[in-house]
Symmetry: D4
Amino acid sequence: MADVKGILQEVQAGRLSIEQATELLQGASMLDYATLDIDRARRTGFPEVVYGAGKGVEQLLGIMERLREHQELVLVTRVSEEQAQRVLERWPDIQYEKEAALLIASREPLRPVRKGYVAVVAAGTSDWGVAQEAAWTIRCFGSEARVIADVGVAGIHRLFGRLEEIRSASVIVCVAGMEGALASVLAGLVDIPVIAVPTSVGYGANFGGVSALLSMLNSCSTGVSVVNIDNGFGAGYMAGMIHKQMSKPV
Amino acid sequence: MADVKGILQEVQAGRLSIEQATELLQGASMLDYATLDIDRARRTGFPEVVYGAGKGVEQLLGIMERLREHQELVLVTRVSEEQAQRVLERWPDIQYEKEAALLIASREPLRPVRKGYVAVVAAGTSDWGVAQEAAWTIRCFGSEARVIADVGVAGIHRLFGRLEEIRSASVIVCVAGMEGALASVLAGLVDIPVIAVPTSVGYGANFGGVSALLSMLNSCSTGVSVVNIDNGFGAGYMAGMIHKQMSKPV
Amino acid sequence: MADVKGILQEVQAGRLSIEQATELLQGASMLDYATLDIDRARRTGFPEVVYGAGKGVEQLLGIMERLREHQELVLVTRVSEEQAQRVLERWPDIQYEKEAALLIASREPLRPVRKGYVAVVAAGTSDWGVAQEAAWTIRCFGSEARVIADVGVAGIHRLFGRLEEIRSASVIVCVAGMEGALASVLAGLVDIPVIAVPTSVGYGANFGGVSALLSMLNSCSTGVSVVNIDNGFGAGYMAGMIHKQMSKPV
Amino acid sequence: MADVKGILQEVQAGRLSIEQATELLQGASMLDYATLDIDRARRTGFPEVVYGAGKGVEQLLGIMERLREHQELVLVTRVSEEQAQRVLERWPDIQYEKEAALLIASREPLRPVRKGYVAVVAAGTSDWGVAQEAAWTIRCFGSEARVIADVGVAGIHRLFGRLEEIRSASVIVCVAGMEGALASVLAGLVDIPVIAVPTSVGYGANFGGVSALLSMLNSCSTGVSVVNIDNGFGAGYMAGMIHKQMSKPV
Amino acid sequence: MADVKGILQEVQAGRLSIEQATELLQGASMLDYATLDIDRARRTGFPEVVYGAGKGVEQLLGIMERLREHQELVLVTRVSEEQAQRVLERWPDIQYEKEAALLIASREPLRPVRKGYVAVVAAGTSDWGVAQEAAWTIRCFGSEARVIADVGVAGIHRLFGRLEEIRSASVIVCVAGMEGALASVLAGLVDIPVIAVPTSVGYGANFGGVSALLSMLNSCSTGVSVVNIDNGFGAGYMAGMIHKQMSKPV
Amino acid sequence: MADVKGILQEVQAGRLSIEQATELLQGASMLDYATLDIDRARRTGFPEVVYGAGKGVEQLLGIMERLREHQELVLVTRVSEEQAQRVLERWPDIQYEKEAALLIASREPLRPVRKGYVAVVAAGTSDWGVAQEAAWTIRCFGSEARVIADVGVAGIHRLFGRLEEIRSASVIVCVAGMEGALASVLAGLVDIPVIAVPTSVGYGANFGGVSALLSMLNSCSTGVSVVNIDNGFGAGYMAGMIHKQMSKPV
Amino acid sequence: MADVKGILQEVQAGRLSIEQATELLQGASMLDYATLDIDRARRTGFPEVVYGAGKGVEQLLGIMERLREHQELVLVTRVSEEQAQRVLERWPDIQYEKEAALLIASREPLRPVRKGYVAVVAAGTSDWGVAQEAAWTIRCFGSEARVIADVGVAGIHRLFGRLEEIRSASVIVCVAGMEGALASVLAGLVDIPVIAVPTSVGYGANFGGVSALLSMLNSCSTGVSVVNIDNGFGAGYMAGMIHKQMSKPV
Amino acid sequence: MADVKGILQEVQAGRLSIEQATELLQGASMLDYATLDIDRARRTGFPEVVYGAGKGVEQLLGIMERLREHQELVLVTRVSEEQAQRVLERWPDIQYEKEAALLIASREPLRPVRKGYVAVVAAGTSDWGVAQEAAWTIRCFGSEARVIADVGVAGIHRLFGRLEEIRSASVIVCVAGMEGALASVLAGLVDIPVIAVPTSVGYGANFGGVSALLSMLNSCSTGVSVVNIDNGFGAGYMAGMIHKQMSKPV
């Protein structure tokens, strides 16, 4: 992939051996049970993230160790308390966000590196964990995240009470379960992109979040796009990327 | 069914023959291709309604003729323009509500017989037909129906502009397609029962109204119950029955 | 939202400061992890209800404490025995309805404040818990609730034996799992609104209550509207609201 | 594969050539575009049936001609009026049942050859076609079929009025769309096997008959088994086979 | 329901009081938490069956005790080993069929009371439990049941090896999971009604038995009807009823 | 909702009558069959858009006429050729984009008002229409849109051939049907937000776009969010909004 | 992609300009509305295939013309009769297989170039078209295809009559609708890979082929893999590729 | 059904008794709770495989013991660690592959008996177990299997780095969860048949592997066929069979 022309010019000029060029064009570093994508930060602007769910502790420690050598920041998602405890025994300085189920191993403390903020707006108290996962992912991008919780449409005046703060954000993440109506109402009130996260909160014909997912995909308001059910990380990533994109010179 | 004890007492007293009693306890009048439920008005408070869709014109005329002999009011739903034209050729005085796809053959003109009204609140212009079907069904119950259209949550201030009128109703019918968020928002603002009708308006992952149906079933607001997709008649019936019930001496 | 005109007149008259008016128009009281909707009783006729499932005990106690300060009645749904035990340790006077999985903290004893009653009709013995949830919710509204259990259509004569009592109700809640046929049969026999609750009782192609849900939405009888699967609280709320509505002066 | 032992004995005895035996053990008569199963009547008690839908007229005529050579009875299902007209031009004596969409080419007139009858009970007037398809299939089996129409549970007294006639049947076919509740109610009232046919009658969340199908599969009453949606032929076949089985010497 | 005319004649003749007649016409015996259908054996030919799953032991004992007073046979389905142990402590003479998860409390030993038998044909070893549930239900009807196991289509010659025994049965129950192809193959080889039971055996896109259920509903062979997933009891009931019906004088 | 405080201050100062303030706080302009949201451009940054599908020509002309009075730009989506022809008869200067099925009535010619561009990347030739709908919507936002078509993963080198152009964009819209794999591959190669549009292109188990929709929601690459099936307008809107946001001073 | 090393060596040696190398590494030839994948035959062993459905005639002619320049063989699938007629007007020598809906433009006549054959086994006469699509695709690969039709499991002896011919094949394509049981039965009888194609033949709970699809995915027999519903082309392609692979020197 | 003609000739020649011939034509060896298909290796080229999940240890030991008498190789799938431990206590020499959850009891050590290999390509580290199940099944066929792990499309250069090794394989098994895009990308790059295995890896709208399953069925690349979700065994079996077929003389 990469800069094909440039690499070829280096080869033609004799400044790059064929072996080196092949490696660069392939860009993969093969390990035993995993092929770590150490090139990702350069390519996509964010280092490889580890999906923690279901991984054994040894495997988790192994992958984290290797990644920490190459990356400024190692983010692990869906980390159980038990997994976290074992990781913290080894590296006590790592940050564990229990509500967000995230492990964050950053060489530098996380702090906003650009102006503006992302508003993470959550409908109910049960959406809290997903909202936190989004917020901390945003912070890993170097953006500020503000969580505005429990402003679902059952008592819509609560939303209006926070509208000014929401409207001043650069990007909005909207977290809602049950019928997910908050995304539609919100998007009709702002001129800011809304990344909607359906949550599996609810029961009966909620079908594990499908109800909210369909609502958000069918929103009568424009300016909404959707990520997978309970995927606070994905929404935070998308929002962080947009916010970061905004501070680039166009 | 009916009043078992009463009929038995009449039999015991010799005032009712066994044949008559059997007939009364069975209560059915068997015809050739249909068993008309002429007892329904007494039993459920509303005469038998004819489902027009797919019926041949001759069959439709036959059923209507027979029912008009026994009932003050004959309501036919899902009537195509072609069907209506043929029926009106025979009985030019019958009322055809084209938008609602209803034929209404009433001996007396429809007019409100009780105080208060039912608010039929519709989210978009495409929900108009279903809202009209609900409204005319309500009027057949002898209740006033007011249609408040195009107040969906994409521009939620439109809803607030009509809120006073909605709050003064006795019952609310809420008609919405796409993500059906209007029902949740509305129910969070009023102390009146909301009958929600999902409509098949929308496309893609709307799945013919399933998206709105699930939204309404999973409403985060209480005080909402739901009828079938596009079933304006069913919602109007339910609302009419509740409104009628309210004027009975408790 | 509230009474926009009235608040504006108060402002114009100088009887209300801009800060107070803003607060009233917003009506939200922001807490740390929840935005309690203390305005709800005035707006919707019933105070905020707490959804207990999945809440930690500390969080539950915190929310209940705050709500008890503002509300005559605090209702908590889906409360496990373990949660209940912990709450009762703190406030031994609170009522715990184990079969209904409800905690009821009422300043005044619950008793009917209006005439008439709501009939909660359940098809099988397995629907008992959902029926109890509906019944106690109705009682929280100040209405009488009578549970009529195990009258499913497999032995339809059992239903007819209770029909008189059902027909004398003001509203009916119908609870049924499996194929949910009871709602259709019942609605064809009465002139009273029927709120149907599908339950997840059954197995195989029952799909966790979907079978009964679809049955009830497709009922061939009119006068039925439906709430979410196993949502006895929602049905009781709807029935209570209708019954309460009936005693208002129209 | 027929009577293996017997054929082998014939081979051993030299009364059957290997070629003949092979053919008999294979039992297939290969044609150009179809492999007609002329052995079926012997094997399953009913000759091969032709599924008419989508077949070109030439192909239909070809198959029917060949089958008429070998079979007493040729039954063609799902025949459009246009297909029927073309077939009747060729063989004017063939019976076309338009409502049932069946062509029946029988060498002998259809008439009951055994005692008793099958009751085909249909919920609504829209179920009429499927009921007729079932009834004529039963008649092809040499059994009497009686259609009892429009006795759905919305007015359940209509069913009770016909119950005596239904209870005297040997087998019951129950045809119902919408929520299909009739099957459950019926099966709870009789000691006769009920073959249930869900129909695609209904709209919205009916999903082309899925609602009635699930209802019937989840029936709270025992003694019900189900065939595919709108499959009147399949139900009639099953009922005819059971009725025929009853007259065999056990 | 019952014999309306007869009861009325008794009333007219003064041989039956109105109270007694009312009770007979209602036929329900109301208990505290259940309305036992003691009239069922007379009406449907089989006494009320108890669904054991999820019932508390006390409730189970209570219901069984009451039913044993009125019924020759009490059948309890879906009984866990733990439930069974508790019941057997009280009534050690009751029969517990562990593989079938059935409790059978019969005054007389179960033995065939009519000629012929029902063949219960199962595709794989994993379908064994469901097949046993069907077989014992058939035996409760007083019919002989023969289980023919592990003859699925992956090795179809195994089926042919048992075909003679299957063909000599009066009714067939076919139990199969995965793709459920056995039902189609079997029905194409016999002239006997086939009651098909899809089982939830399988994984992945099997969806808990939906794959086999759809297969059986869409069988290309006629003479198949279907019961709910894993519903061995329902299939055995249907088969037993058909077999019993065959020995009635037509 | 608007600026509540400001309006109240105007009222207090007597510079705004209560009627005017009420109107402003409600912000709705009620018409006969529609409540036009003329406030939308101020609130959400884009004027109200008309959904053309299913609208009668008269209704369409009426709405467009009214909107053109208030808005610089009137965009109508899902316009059939027949509808377009009728509208163009009335206003010949309106732009009709046939492939995109859009009518664009802009007072000023559409041209980019900010730097950078949005890349609309489409997998196959069949995705062309949806891609055009997205591109023209983006142009309505005042952004440049470049369509890069037919670069699906079946021949992935085609994508790499265009990668430089894609990587230089500010936002990416990715349009793909069938299995929708393009979104995942693309997002793994860039550091730019990807708005994915599943299309209904495909057949069989594609289920009208559900296959691509699920793929995109489950993308193993981060930085992807999704809009409804075939919703090129929604994706273009989201992309346009993000691009516009990027040129605001943070 | 291609042979990266080789191209780089050519560049280093000065035998390939950077422009040429870039083009080769990109391998894409960009046209106006399509990016033809002329490299495909070399890469995947089969030239690019055109999906005809929904393409305008002009577009179709354009693509075919360009591809015919580069490819020995141009295959167009899902071609309507109307499309075919227009194409044949231009190139009368092209082969149109109407039943298979394929256009085949081959410079050389299609004939088998390797030993052995692929058996295309179809369950019913309605599966004929899909079987033909598979067979002609196989022939385009230079393999012989033999169609064995109408051997579904309803009369399983028909299958056994053709088993010898099927067992002598190198690969099997199995085409079946309804419950798709043929694939399981077949795979249990042979030691040859079976590619299964579910067809949308059937009705009711067949759900457009989903029933057969699930059956085939859940086959109790091993040695079966599945392609999309009605995808005869895909199955023929897979079978042709396997057969071709078999004649390569291993 | 074996060689019908040959067996018949033996009978005719008197060299085979009728009993023996019957047994051979039936070919089934009936046991108590299972009908072992000892004829399978001859018929399908691979001995009967045991599905371990859910089987009791005694039953498992019994079946294994019997099969080991007749088969060179006994393969047991889905074996839990607990089951394995018990089996190994009895036969310590049996091979247990924990990651693949397979027990392999082979008389001869497994080693490749033909040239070439099967590439098992897995998208993520979570697909490892399914990939191992496929690989060991292939080895049981006497083919070499090479696992190439963690080369999913999120970092597509990792795939290109291994492409040469993949392209040199004879058959490919592709294992992927989430959106399963790897199958499409891979099949577009090779001229080798790809057997795709969707895995249940993922969450939210992944629906237990349905997302990947639909992706693979709808692949825009040709040369892909699919097995059930998580069915590594089925894919390995299919690949092994194809590879074995390739070394037969055509």
